[in-house]
């Protein structure tokens, strides 16, 4: 509904503005940021993933990913179970293993594969947008019927010791990748 409202606004903007395409992209980034926020809310990390009770829940994103500003905007002032949400922007393939969520959006496939492989079994909720399910990726975002959908690799989630909310699973396309 928010989306439709946004869509209505965007449509209004698009009718009277030549940069309508840019607006739709902006909307998609915000949607992705909201998805990541909801994933954070519907996922339970093991207690060892945090140094302390009030330590922030950190989401890592590639520095130049266009979703990064939307993510920062969506996370501002939010908290999940008392943990403030933080966004860390990384320059390359290094440093992902200390994050709680690794968002691998607009990244080169090689880099995505390296990072995913590096994070396999590392208690990091990985969210990627590769063309197909990845053995080491937990959640994959993909567009379908002009909607944004996601699939969950249950085996990867189990290896990462993450418990995904059953409601999340009900909405997801579950893949049983090895």
């Amino acid at each position: 509904m928010r989306r439709t409202r946004w869509a209505a606004m965007v449509l209004a903007v698009a009718l009277c503005w030549p940069a309508a395409l840019l607006a739709e992209e902006l909307l998609e980034r915000k949607l992705k940021a909201a998805f990541v926020y909801n994933f954070a809310r519907l996922t339970t990390w093991p207690a060892t993933a945090f140094a302390g009770p009030a330590m922030p829940l950190e989401t890592c994103i590639l520095e130049h990913d266009p979703v990064a500003p939307a993510l920062q905007e969506a996370f501002a002032g939010k908290a999940v179970e008392g943990r403030p949400l933080a966004v860390r922007r990384l320059a390359g393939a290094a440093g992902w293993d200390s994050c709680h969520i690794a968002y691998l959006g607009a990244v080169p496939p090689e880099l995505a594969r390296d990072v995913l492989r590096a994070l396999a079994g590392r208690r990091v909720l990985t969210v990627h947008e590769q063309g197909a399910a990845q053995a080491d990726g937990v959640i994959r975002l993909f567009p379908a019927d002009r909607k944004l959908r996601f699939e969950v690799n249950q085996a990867a989630a189990d290896r990462a010791q993450l418990r995904l909310n059953a409601r999340l699973m009900a909405l997801a396309v579950v893949v049983k990748a090895p």
Binding site: M1, R2, R3, F35, N38, R41, L42, V80, E81, N165, R167, L168, A170, L171
Partner: protein, 655 residues
């Protein structure tokens, strides 16, 4: 109590027989109880059903909200609709509406599920709970963590609940009806247990009332109140029986008293009408009871009392001022034959219940009045007689004094006679001796003158002269002696001289002076007295006392004997002389013992007893000697007189 003020309907219930009353009461109470219980049950069930329905719906809403939260946050309308469609399995859910939060309004419809005839409103209901006759609606927030992600509104159709409640009410009413029938049956059976004994009691009471047979008893019952009532009733009958017997006895006793009373007893009521009239009253007034009962009591009074009596009565009843009541007084009564008579009337009043009654006790005092006047006359004559008697008594007393005096003189006379007799003998001997001597002297003078006197003649004469003069001298001496003693006695008796004297020789002299009395018999008197007993007093009195004792004994004590032994004993006891005289004669009859000292009492009136001898003793002892006399005797064992007088007698004593 208050039943009189109850409405007619309640009065009709009061008039019902107890068994119907009991039945009505039991059915009424059990019916009310059952209705109340059914109402409470239905209300409770309705409340519980509603509470559980609301809770169930809220729980369902919470579950549905939880199930829809992911679809809502990820904007997946299809998934949310699928979730809500699962409510199809719940036939009572009329609709389920999921709203996303909206910035401007309460919310925007995100997904919904609705049965036929139901629609979701554009915005959720502002109340979390809403119920109308048809629907129950709950509104629950859809939460994700701390954030409200949307609102779920669930509406349940209450038709099924109403059907359940209606069924429950029918069941409750059915159970109530069955219970009511059962309790009616039980009450019908039970009321016999209560009313049975009551009916028996009532029948017994009625029987007792009709027949007055207080010996009837109601059979035993249980220990409950009715049983106790029956026991009490039986005890009450016992009491009534006792009371009746006592009342009957008391009435019979009263009737007997009234009927046999010597006084007339008349009761009247407050108007003066006679209520009862006892036999004594019949006798007094001459009326039979049925002639007077019911008529005014004034018929028993002569004028003017007759006219005034009603006035008295009303006066007393209104003022309480009594004329006769409470006190007896003499009034005049009127007999049937018209004669009036004096009577004594005592009236008492009493209240029996609210009635005032008066009881009059009437006594015919005609006879008494006559007796009284008789007595008064007798009294007068008696007074004059008493005066005469007193005069006669005085004369008698004078005569007695004279007699005592003459008795004293008589005893003195007998003393003189005895004395003459005593002296006569020696004087006679002296006379004959002197005359013999004179004859002898004449003879010797003739012989001398004739010269024929011989020597032997002279010798014989001298001898005879000596003998004769000796005899003369002796007898004269004896006469002189006798004279001396008589003189002493008679002088003492006559003169009443007071002197000191030795008792024993004096008593001896007295005995000697009485020696003529002992001639021709063997009576002897013994004197037993201490020699040194000296009395200061009146020896004459003592002599006369002793003389009278001896004379008395010789006259009365020895009718057939001539050898009586008399004894005079004297002794000092303190300041008193006790002179005890006793004989061994026939004694004194006990009946006479108290009278022998009385004047003129004698058992020998015809043969010369004066009846004064011992009275003189009594007089002398009590008046002259100031002492006492005591008589002791047993028939056949002699008599004893004990005289006690002071050894020093009072200076003055009247003779």
């Amino acid at each position: 109590m208050n039943a009189r003020r109850h409405s007619p309907r309640w009065r009709r219930l009061d008039d019902l027989p107890i068994r119907s009353k009991l039945l009505v009461l039991i059915l009424l109470s059990s019916g009310v109880g059952l209705v109340v219980a059914a109402c409470i049950l239905i209300a409770f069930a309705s409340s519980a059903l509603r509470t559980s329905t609301v809770r169930d719906l809220q729980t369902l809403a919470a579950i549905m909200a939880d199930s829809s939260v992911a679809a809502l946050v990820f904007g997946d309308t299809q998934a949310a609709t699928d979730t809500l469609d699962s409510l199809r399995a719940h036939p009572d859910i009329a609709r389920a509406c999921l709203y996303s939060p909206a910035a401007t309004s309460g919310g925007a419809l995100f997904a919904h599920y609705a049965r036929e005839g139901a629609q979701c409103p554009a915005t959720p209901d502002p109340h979390s709970l809403r119920q109308d006759s048809q629907w129950l609606t709950v509104v629950a927030p859809v939460r994700l963590g701390d954030e409200v992600a949307g609102t779920l509104q669930l509406t349940q159709d209450l038709a099924r609940q109403r059907r359940v409640l209606w069924l429950l009410a029918q069941v409750a009413l059915g159970i109530g009806g069955v219970s009511f029938m059962l309790s009616a049956a039980v009450a019908w059976a039970m009321q016999r247990a209560i009313t049975g004994p009551l009916m028996r009691l009532a029948q017994a009471a009625q029987h007792v009332t009709e027949t007055r047979d207080y010996t009837l008893r109601v059979g035993p019952a249980g220990k409950d109140e009715v049983g106790r009532l029956i026991d009490d009733f039986n005890q009450m009958l016992d009491q009534v029986k006792l009371r009746e017997t006592a009342l009957h006895d008391s009435a019979a006793r009263l009737r007997a008293i009234v009927d046999t009373a010597v006084d007339g007893i008349i009761t009247i009521d407050s108007r003066g009408h006679i209520e009862s009239f006892n036999p004594a009253a019949e006798f007094i007034f001459g009326y039979a009871p049925d002639e007077v009962v019911g008529r005014n009591v004034s018929m028993l009074m002569p004028a003017p009392y007759r006219q005034e009596h009603d006035g008295y009565l009303t006066n007393y009843l209104s003022t309480g001022i009594k004329k006769i009541i409470g006190s007896g007084r003499e009034v005049v009564g009127l007999r049937k034959d018209g004669t009036s008579f004096p009577m004594e009337l005592a009236v008492s009043d009493m209240s029996i219940g609210s009635q005032r009654k008066f009881t009059g006790l009437v006594r015919d005092i005609t006879a008494r009045k006559r007796t009284e006047s008789e007595l008064r006359r007798l009294n007068l004559s008696l007074e004059s007689q008493v005066t005469e008697t007193r005069q006669a008594l005085n004369q008698l007393r004078d005569a007695q004094t004279q007699l005592v005096q003459s008795e004293k003189l008589a005893s003195l006379g007998s003393l003189v006679a005895g004395m003459a007799h005593e002296i006569n003998t020696p004087l006679g001997i002296g006379v004959s001796a002197a005359s013999t001597l004179q004859v002898l002297a004449e003879q010797i003078r003739e012989r001398h003158d004739s010269g024929e006197m011989t020597r032997s003649d002279l010798k014989r004469f001298v001898q005879a002269a000596i003998d004769s003069s000796d005899l003369v001298l002796k007898n004269l001496q004896r006469a002189a002696d006798l004279m001396q003693s008589f003189k002493q006695v008679t002088v003492d008796q006559a003169s009443g001289e007071r002197r000191r004297f030795a008792l024993k020789p004096y008593l001896d002299e007295v005995i000697t002076s009485l020696s003529p009395k002992f001639k021709g018999n063997q009576h002897r008197v013994r004197v037993n007295c201490p020699d040194d007993l000296v009395v200061d007093g009146y020896p004459g009195a003592v002599a006369q006392i002793v003389t009278n004792f001896i004379t008395n004994s010789m006259m009365h004590a020895y009718p057939e004997r001539k050898d009586g032994q008399m004894e005079i004993g004297a002794s000092i006891q303190g300041d008193d002389v006790v002179l005890a005289y006793r004989d061994d004669g026939v004694g004194i009859e006990p009946a006479n013992l108290g009278r022998v000292l009385d004047p003129f009492f004698t058992t020998r009136r015809g043969t010369g007893g004066s009846g004064l001898g011992l009275h003189v003793v009594y007089n002398l002892v009590t008046q002259r000697l100031g002492g006492t006399v005591q008589v002791k005797s047993e028939p056949g064992n002699g008599a004893e007189f004990i005289v006690r007088f002071p050894v020093r007698q009072p200076a003055q004593v009247a003779a």
